[in-house]
Symmetry: C2
Amino acid sequence: VNVVQAALDGDRRALARLLSWAEDGSDAGREALATLFPRSGQAHIVGITGSTGAGKSTLVNRLAAEFRQRDQTLAVVAVDPTSPYSGGALLGDRLRMRNLVTDEGVFIRSMASRGHPGGIAHATRDVVTILDAVGFPLILVETVGAGQAQVEVARVAHTVVLVEAPGMGDDIQALKAGLMEIADIIVVNKADRPEARQTVRALQSVRRSTQPAGHHGAQATASTAPTTDWEVPILQTAALDNQGVPELADTIVAHRRYLEESHRWEALHREHARAEIENWLQRHLLTRLETHIGEDRIQAWVDTVQRRECDPASAAEILLQEMLNTQQRNG
Amino acid sequence: VNVVQAALDGDRRALARLLSWAEDGSDAGREALATLFPRSGQAHIVGITGSTGAGKSTLVNRLAAEFRQRDQTLAVVAVDPTSPYSGGALLGDRLRMRNLVTDEGVFIRSMASRGHPGGIAHATRDVVTILDAVGFPLILVETVGAGQAQVEVARVAHTVVLVEAPGMGDDIQALKAGLMEIADIIVVNKADRPEARQTVRALQSVRRSTQPAGHHGAQATASTAPTTDWEVPILQTAALDNQGVPELADTIVAHRRYLEESHRWEALHREHARAEIENWLQRHLLTRLETHIGEDRIQAWVDTVQRRECDPASAAEILLQEMLNTQQRNG
């Protein structure tokens, strides 16, 4: 595969093409992914999520610049639900990262949250796998806006950075526990604001009350307990003034070290592998249903359920059995 | 099924038991759902979502009281990621809705966001189906906190109410488009605050720029275009002072009327039916894999993928084919 080799050789336009294929869920994308997958698994994938209005974009920008000063090559993926562009919102990328765009050591990619056949989480994972495989040792995945993407970044990342702004007030307890569960590092950005200290204190009390340290959110369930503990740090940054950014970079590096020493690194890869297999199982199944049963027959069952003549669990059971029977006859 | 009949006869403890079964994904729950499903499809399901700190809980409380004053029987489901309880956080319910808890015309149910085998969205749908089937004509589904549940409520609801607080400032454009897409009604709560007018103006400009009116978010794709248009209204409430709440109740009732007149009601039911069938297909498939292939063999493939010896899409393909072959031999 020509384009794959070009991307491996450092051709950025070839890389961009591969990423578009992967985002579109095309056959070419599937093929490229299968070819590249064995080379992946080296990169440190850092998810950056959190409240809207917390200044995430600026922080990611400064963080990328900080890593560049350390001669670290990296890729930045911005999952942006407001972007109408699928396959790389070039203008947006340039506006966001004016200072970095001429730097060969950074590759920036924006993804729209719509237009991905297998869902945004799946597309993000595929994009990250490709960037990992072509050799970026560090990948920052920023989720813009609220919603699903915010939680799902944890299913791709090794390290989840939760960014907050000061002044969330007394609602913080109810509000943050859902996201704090998946955080490995908490950042209070805009820390030059007077309310920052109160926010830090509120976050500290939520951290204490929700979760033992050393976890990695919902994924850590049962499968692995860390051998050493990671106390989720609460850092303060003022990204616009570049304050606290080097400390954040240090903490991200420290978290990778912790993951490796505690063998959480392999455990996370196993969890991610399982999630990906299960996701692909569903996609394959739906494709086979379309092929062997046909859209008309599926739609007929949807109508039956809509008329409440059959419950959805039973309809699904029947469809699955029909498909198995068809395959038996044909196989 | 005894408990099902008792729940249908109005026994609240039997109903609570059914809901717990459904939440746990137990066989008893599946059976109850299959029995009750034909009776569902009548209720108006209203999702209430939006920013944390916007005062959603208070607003839902007042809205429920408003509907009670109109002699409307209703159920309230609070999807609460902060709650460690699965199967009805009783204390929390009572604290949240002190004024309503002795009222026989309201049924209140809290759901933790964890501990549901098929995911929170699936559990929410099952709980709503049961409440619908036993005869609640109006069901308010409130999502607490950020993340996935917020977006997924749109896959259960007929009407999505997005609640905001004033003072989100200039970040509102970037931040809200993701959620505004799924909103049928936008509410600026705490409208007594001085920043309220600015927030309303900001929301108006985002509404204009993102989406034509008359949609229902991501679900509306292709399948149906409404015959009449629904201009997403932006209401102002001050739930603590009970201001604007009757108008919100009126607008919710008007949206149901719009859905029925535009035939969006049936279209939504068809979309929900399809989503439920696809979700159950995956659950059945995973169950069959466990049964016919076995956890050991699945785990072996997870390990193979983790060692990067096979990509996840191919591993899933092989597992699926193995399962089909096994069924062929056994069938």
